[in-house]
C-alpha cells in the first residue's frame, strides 16, 4: 500500500513538474525529464525508508 501510494504521488508530481518546466520544450525532453523526476522521488523515498526504518520513533 505504502509503495503504491508513493508511486502514485511521484507519478502525479513528475507529470505536472515535467509539463510546466520551461527548459523541456519537446515531448521527448518532457518525457525524459518526467522519468528523471519520478526516479528521484522513488529513489530518495526508498533510501529514506531504509535509513529511517531502524529509528524507533
Amino acid at each position: 500500500m505504502h509503495v503504491l501510494m508513493m508511486s502514485l504521488y511521484a507519478a502525479i508530481a513528475a507529470i505536472v513538474l515535467a509539463t510546466i518546466d520551461p527548459k523541456a520544450e519537446t515531448m521527448r525532453e518532457r518525457l525524459i525529464h518526467g522519468l528523471k523526476i519520478f526516479g528521484w522521488f522513488m529513489g530518495i523515498g526508498l533510501v529514506l525508508s531504509w535509513i529511517l526504518f531502524p529509528i524507533p520513533w
Binding site: 500500500m1 501510494m5 502525479i12 513538474l17 509539463t19 510546466i20 520551461p22 520544450e25
Partner: protein
C-alpha cells in the same frame, strides 16, 4: 544583425535560437491574464483552457482533481486555521495555517468539499495520512500550474 537582448550576438545561430525563440508568443491582455489566474485557481486546468492550451488544461484538471478526490476517498481531512492552544505569539496554530494554505490551492475542490462537509469530520482511518498528503499535493501543484498559466498569458512561454 543585433539580437533582441544584445547579449547573444557572439553565439552561434543554433544556440541563439535555442535560448531566445525568434517567434515569442504574443502576451495576452491584463484582463485575460487575471482571468486565467483566477480560473486556474478555481478550477485546476481552466487557466490553460482559457488560453487555448486544451491538452494541458485537461491533463491538469484530471491530475489535480483526481489527486484531491483520492485524498478525500482515503479519509483525508480538510484543514482550517485553528487558534493556537496553549496561546502563543502567533494567534493561530502555525501548522494548521500551512496545511490550509496547501489545500486551498485546490480552489473549488477545497471550497466544494467544505460546503458539502466532505473531510470536515476526521474519521479514524488508517489511510487518513495518505489522504492528507494527496490533498496537499493537489493544492501545492495547482499553485505551480497557476504560475505556469500566468507565464503563458504574459507571453513568457508557450
Amino acid at each position: 544583425m543585433q539580437s533582441r537582448d544584445g547579449l547573444t550576438d557572439n553565439v552561434t545561430p543554433q544556440y541563439r535560437e535555442r535560448i531566445i525563440p525568434q517567434d515569442l508568443p504574443t502576451p495576452f491582455s491584463a484582463g485575460r491574464r487575471a482571468l486565467a489566474v483566477a480560473a486556474a485557481w478555481l478550477i485546476p486546468g481552466a487557466g490553460h483552457l482559457s488560453l487555448g492550451r486544451y491538452g494541458r488544461g485537461l491533463m491538469f484538471f484530471v491530475l489535480i482533481v483526481g489527486a484531491f478526490a483520492l485524498g478525500l476517498a482515503l479519509q483525508g481531512r480538510l484543514y482550517w486555521p485553528t487558534v493556537s492552544d496553549p496561546p502563543s505569539m502567533f494567534h493561530f496554530d502555525l501548522i494548521s495555517v500551512l496545511w490550509t494554505f496547501a489545500q486551498i490551492g485546490g480552489g473549488l475542490c477545497y471550497l466544494v468539499s467544505y460546503a458539502f462537509g466532505w473531510g470536515t469530520e476526521p474519521l479514524p482511518a488508517a489511510t487518513n495520512e495518505y489522504g492528507n498528503t494527496f490533498m496537499f499535493l493537489a493544492g501545492l501543484l495547482n499553485y505551480l500550474i497557476i504560475y505556469d498559466a500566468y507565464d503563458i498569458a504574459a507571453g513568457r512561454k508557450r
